[in-house]
Symmetry: C2
Subunit: 404 residues, 2 copies
């Protein structure tokens, strides 16, 4: 039997806690084939391919203990990038193909979100002509990729949010005084993460008492009214807000409280919605108020990752390699929920053209009528995604990681 | 043998992840005595005593599973207060004594920090006259109580900080661009928690690259110079700063960036040092910069608590009850390190008058000469305190807690 061609894998976009689990899944599957060649890691995503900067993953990950460490290492082991291929010339694409030819590459796997799938799409037609299989592996904490039930990365971030909100609710409720805690959660246009704060609730805990997503226009007077109503019956009110909540005219509420910087894809870097609401509540209600921005903590808390999420991220990595071996190309692995009663998913291949540059926001049926909460239907959807914990390897009192 | 008198226990001051472990230790030890009476929990600390608001802890904690849940529940199960007894009249003290007499209370245990030990001191002379034993149980994330090697609550907070800083270092370092991450850590006057960020380091991780404590005057030009120097040799610079860093004239650097509110003890509520430095770096160095405020997350992250800390908090609760049974009163339990090579501690009783209202800051020998780091001596001191993890009980994907 002839040998397999070599493979290249890259990671792109914002970090998640499980993007390395997808890397581990792909490495594992590729090396499982007894005729395997070399699987190279592109350093800093597609930029690494353009620069011919690679690491040999066969050598590092022939040890099972390194795969174990990789599975619990947050962020991108290979380094990441936010780089979109130039569409007005095919120079970059030619360069990439020549690098792949030189390295005898037959498979290219790219783990990333919306913007990264654009790279997969740009390369897919020309790769097909050259006999190189290219597959996208989904990854985003934002859960906003279309065509998949949910995205690897979301479940762990959701678990961190649920855990932190329930812990902070214990903290904020310890004095017998009226107070409000505003928790600012990531999510520019899609409120999936902020919605996940509802998973903090149980029989005894009502927190978060109010939830505001970017899908609904934000009204300050309605917000203050909602809080006043809650304060009638309880001392502590916990509010979860998305960084991306906007007034009805479409301006971000954080916009005038912080300079808006733009990243390479033209997205504004937000932050400050929580702080803005803290000052609003203090000024208008005159009670003790605090705001907490979960910031990047929510996307790198690998020590509290969801086992379901880790397993699925690993599974997506495996599925991508398997699909490429079966001749698939220009596709992204997606997950379909096959059984809703007893949570179960299946991996599928979706045409990349149907996915790239799309964005899935939280549907109406998941948002409460008055726009300050989520529905039971959302909780049913999200609850299985945070289940399970990995047995984290600690060293000197903190989780052990692997780095290049 | 005659029956033991009843006991009252209260929790006071800011929450920690292990203040409930001390409660568990005291309950356990009291109920272990076969002649025990009732141990009452004062709701919201000394305010609960003044209002005669108690819960019967015998009934709740005869189930071992409830003790297990209590051990992993952050914040104060009994509710807390920030209340200092009025010193210009003895009305409150008389009220407390009359409540205790009515309930046949022979033991009063108070878990708290500096301000709470003031309450223990106020009551200790009169309690002695009335045959009531009163014992203080130390608790503070700030590690600033004098007379004890360290404080229960510190180790878990330190473990959270070490874990988070190492996770965020993975995150911040994922792109191949120059960037700075400023992590703002709690600590008004004492830099113990910020110093603990050094525990994030290992053979491969240099983060945090710079550490600034409130014990040393902060100089903006020196700070920018330090960062520029680090950026010469690395892409990502992680900086840990205490919320309480001050200029040489004694003003907090956060003071002009946020209104300073005062709490009941006259302490300013700070916050904003990180944000202030983020803007300073952006303006002066013009590079990508982000600030993360660990905020209350650091003091309630029970899911990542230090087993050493939990065990010692439990031990302090036990030791307080044991000491009271042995006739001690007007004292606080402290910990002495008996063996430095192989970390080991012993519990002792310290006269409350020597402790109350004192504050232990980070000594010179723990701070590097140029004021932007800690010494190896500090690391040797702090490293054992974050060791070990509890097997946390999860329910529906998040840690299970007990609440009143």
């Amino acid at each position: 039997m002839s040998n397999l061609k070599n493979a290249v894998i890259g990671q792109s976009g914002g970090p998640t806690t499980v993007i390395n689990a997808s890397l581990a899944g792909a490495i594992n599957k590729y090396l499982e084939d007894e005729n395997h060649g070399i699987i190279y890691g592109a350093v800093n995503g597609i930029k690494g391919v353009l620069r011919s900067e690679f690491v040999n993953l066969n050598e590092i990950f022939d040890k099972k203990e390194n795969i174990d460490l990789l599975m619990q290492t947050p962020s991108s082991y290979l380094g990441s990038c936010r780089y979109r291929l130039k569409k007005d010339s095919d120079e970059e694409i030619k360069k990439i193909i020549s690098v792949f030819k030189e390295m005898d590459v037959g498979y290219f796997f790219y783990i990333g979100g919306n913007d990264s799938m654009d790279t997969v799409m740009c390369l897919s037609d020309i790769c097909r002509d050259k006999g190189i299989k290219i597959m996208g592996i989904p990854k985003t904490i934002d859960n906003d990729l279309i065509g998949t039930d949910h995205c690897p990365g979301y479940g762990s971030c959701a678990k961190y949010i649920a855990t932190s909100v329930s812990e902070m609710a214990q903290d904020a409720g310890c004095y017998d005084i009226k107070n409000v805690l505003v928790v600012e959660i990531m999510g520019r246009n899609a409120g999936w993460l902020t919605a996940a704060s509802a998973l903090a609730r149980d029989e005894k805990l009502s927190a978060p008492d109010l939830i505001y997503l970017p899908e609904k226009p934000f009204d300050e007077e309605k917000f203050l009214y909602d809080i006043r109503q809650k304060l009638l019956n309880q001392n502590t009110v916990i509010v979860a807000v998305s960084e991306g909540i906007k007034y009805s005219d479409g301006t971000y509420i954080a916009e005038d409280s912080k300079e808006t910087r733009k990243d390479m894809f033209g997205h504004g870097q937000l932050g400050g919605a929580g702080k803005k609401l803290e000052f609003l509540i203090k000024k208008r209600l005159g009670i003790k108020v605090r705001s907490v921005e979960l910031n990047i903590l929510q996307r790198c808390a690998a020590h509290n990752a969801s086992l379901t999420d880790i397993s699925e991220a690993f599974g997506c990595g495996c599925a991508a390699v398997e699909a490429a071996f079966n001749g698939e190309s220009g596709k992204m692995i997606s997950m379909r929920r096959t059984d809703c009663k007893k949570y179960q998913i299946e991996y599928e291949c979706l045409d990349i053209k149907k996915i790239a540059n799309g964005e899935k926001t939280v549907p109406e049926s998941f948002i409460s009528k008055n726009g300050n909460d989520v529905t039971d239907e959302f909780v049913k959807y999200a609850a299985p995604l945070i289940i399970g914990e990995r047995n984290v390897i600690y060293k000197n009192g903190k989780p052990a990681y692997i780095s290049r």
